[in-house]
């Protein structure tokens, strides 16, 4: 066994959002930073553990997307047991896909309705006491109820595929440990309580219309807020289709030129570097080919719809075409359009769930396959918030000797800093006092990326975001903590 290291807090990556804005004598912003005290202890925790434990252990990294970590680790360990991409039994791969698209569905629904919609539907300057899901209930109880049922539906899909909601054991190295029983399938197709996949598709389409309606009335805000050019990175299927579960790694620049051309992610270290900066524990990934200064990129819904060529489901593809037409086919660099992209992905996830539920392969009996052992493996997946990297080395006696994880939120580190800087310079600069509305705009900029920092605050039940205004002499002028 490797050395046992005790690190607290222990149940997940710890995170704490902190924004520092520095002003000159005239009150103009000279520097803004979004710091994260991210506890990366998991890379140490898993060392010395048997490799087959990794897909279960890593779920403790995150309370909202444990499935993404579960599957990324399982994919890496598939390589270790000689069952890399394309070699899994068809039932195993499709079960994992169903689990993942269920996760994507519940996470996107939760984010839009619970976290983002209060800003849109109640207003950025609304009283913070009501600018939340309770406020949405007051405004439109039917919509809020839908949100609950959409999240519940996704969670039920996860339960049916992973075996349990907490620390599911569905995906194992080389396969899956269960298939989908016909009665489980039928519950999602024709549930007597109406909680069916067709209903989810209908509600996802309605959510897109809701966003479009808001956009039509608030174009300046939605198009202009924290808009800035960037590179975009994600997995895409080999033929360029959107794929959340597997593919090749592709990146495009702000004008749509390919800056990373459909490479095998097993070689990600050749293409992705990670820079450290003294003021944040969270690293800054970049494309090696473009260097540290120019190689930073976005991941997540906005990036995925910029890198993919099309969406392989009819209703989402139709929405994708309208979305792409808005920017004349060019990459979309508008931060708040991330919500639009997220809702198109929500619809796509629901369509894929239906397609999988109707697929008899999910009732197949061949669940696991193994081959020739390899000393290391890399697993990538498109988590709700973006590309998630898991990389492990395993000794001959089955113990993990090295783990490297690049989580989606880390991939968006520079982008979130740029978004915060945009708010600092365009909303706060030249104004001596931070109002609550300004503070909320900082959050709105960060929230567009749906960072997982909040998962770290399980015990408190809120994301501790701290904004500090520092004058030219280094004195703290104002500080707000949420």
């Amino acid at each position: 066994m490797g050395k046992k290291i005790t690190i607290e807090p222990v149940t997940r990556v710890e995170g704490h959002g902190k924004v520092t804005i520095r002003l000159d004598d005239a009150g103009r912003v000279t520097e803004s930073r979004f710091h994260v005290v991210e506890f990366r202890g998991f890379e140490r925790f898993v060392q010395g553990r048997p490799y087959w434990e990794a897909p279960v252990l890593v779920q403790r990294l995150c309370g909202i997307c444990p499935v993404s970590h579960h599957l990324a680790a399982a994919k890496a360990m598939d390589v270790v047991v000689g069952t890399g991409p394309g070699k899994l039994p068809v039932t195993a791969e499709k079960m994992r896909r169903l689990m993942h698209y269920g996760q994507m569905f519940q996470s996107h629904a939760l984010h839009f309705f619970h976290l983002a919609s209060p800003d849109f539907l109640l207003g950025l300057d609304a009283d913070p006491a009501v600018r939340n899901v309770i406020g949405i209930i007051g405004l439109d109880k039917g919509l809020a109820t839908q949100a609950v049922l959409m999240r519940k539906f996704g969670q039920e899909i996860i339960l049916a595929t992973a075996g349990k909601k907490v620390h599911g054991t569905g995906a194992i190295p080389g396969g899956i440990n269960k298939n989908l029983a016909p009665e489980e399938r039928d519950r999602f197709l024709k549930s007597p309580d109406g909680l069916t996949v067709d209903r989810m598709i209908e509600w996802a389409r309605a959510a897109i219309e809701l966003f479009k309606g808001y956009h039509a009335k608030n174009k300046d805000l939605v198009d202009g807020f924290a808009a800035f050019p960037s590179n975009h990175l994600s997995l895409v299927r080999k033929d360029g289709a959107l794929d959340f579960y597997h593919g090749v790694l592709r990146a495009v620049d702000a004008d749509g030129r390919k800056v990373l051309g459909d490479v095998d992610y097993q070689d990600y270290l050749s293409y992705i570097g990670e820079e450290t900066r003294a003021w944040s524990y969270m690293k800054f990934p970049y494309l090696r080919s473009l260097g540290k200064a120019a190689g930073w990129y976005r991941v997540g819904p906005l990036a995925r719809l910029n890198t993919c060529d099309y969406i392989p489901s009819p209703l989402a593809q139709k929405e994708f075409e309208a979305y792409k037409a808005y920017t004349d086919g060019k990459p979309n660099n508008m931060s708040l359009h991330t919500h639009w992209a997220r809702l198109i992905e929500l619809l796509h996830a629901a369509e894929v769930i239906k397609e999988l539920l109707l697929d008899k392969d999910l009732q197949g009996g061949k669940l696991v396959r193994t081959g020739r052992r390899a000393p290391e493996g890399v697993g990538l997946i498109e988590a709700p918030r973006g590309t998630l990297f898991h990389h492990y080395r395993v000794s001959a006696d089955d113990q993990i000797t090295m783990a490297n994880l690049i989580v989606s939120t880390t991939n968006n580190n520079e982008s979130m800093n740029r978004a915060v800087d945009w708010v600092a310079r365009n909303v706060i600069s030249g104004r001596p006092e931070i109002t609550e509305g300004m503070l909320n705009r900082v959050e709105v900029a960060i929230r567009a990326y749906d960072p997982c920092l909040s998962c770290a605050t399980h015990a408190l039940g809120r994301m501790p975001l701290e904004v500090t205004l520092v004058d030219a002499a280094g004195r703290v002028r104002q500080r707000k903590v949420r």
């Binding site: 252990l57 909202i64 899901v133 609950v148 999240r151 959050e443 997982c452 809120r462």
Partner: protein, 121 residues
């Protein structure tokens, strides 16, 4: 507790509480939230819960009181709610229960079973 098969009692386990748990609360007359607790001097602590007055502005997770507030706001249901905190001794990832944790858990479960059968503190 699930294995004890108590009549009229449903058990659920979540990594963290979220909005759909409001629906589960609304469907029950009595709700007991159970979790490990730090810093307890006794094996467990048991107390009443009321719906929260406010909601977090930015979080993927909800506390028990916030779930109750959602149940009230969404479904007009206010179940009798309790929080059972069981003393935790070690929180190392991937480790099983410690002997002291096992003992405290046993005491808490005995108490909870009696409570669910009608005994009230």
């Amino acid at each position: 507790m699930r294995k004890r098969r108590l009549r009229g009692v449903d058990c659920d386990a979540n990594y963290q509480l979220n909005i759909e748990d409001a629906l589960a609360c609304a469907d029950h007359d009595v709700v007991v939230f159970v979790d490990a607790a730090r810093g307890l001097r006794r094996p467990f602590r048991f107390g009443r819960l009321e719906p929260a007055a406010g909601m977090p502005a930015m979080s993927h997770a909800l506390g028990p009181a916030q779930v109750l507030a959602l149940a009230a706001a969404l479904y007009d249901m206010k179940p009798e709610a309790w929080l059972l905190g069981i003393r935790g001794h070690s929180f190392a990832v991937g480790e099983g229960l410690t002997a002291r944790g096992e003992s405290d858990l046993g005491l808490a479960l005995e108490f909870l079973e009696a409570f669910l059968k009608g005994e009230r503190p």
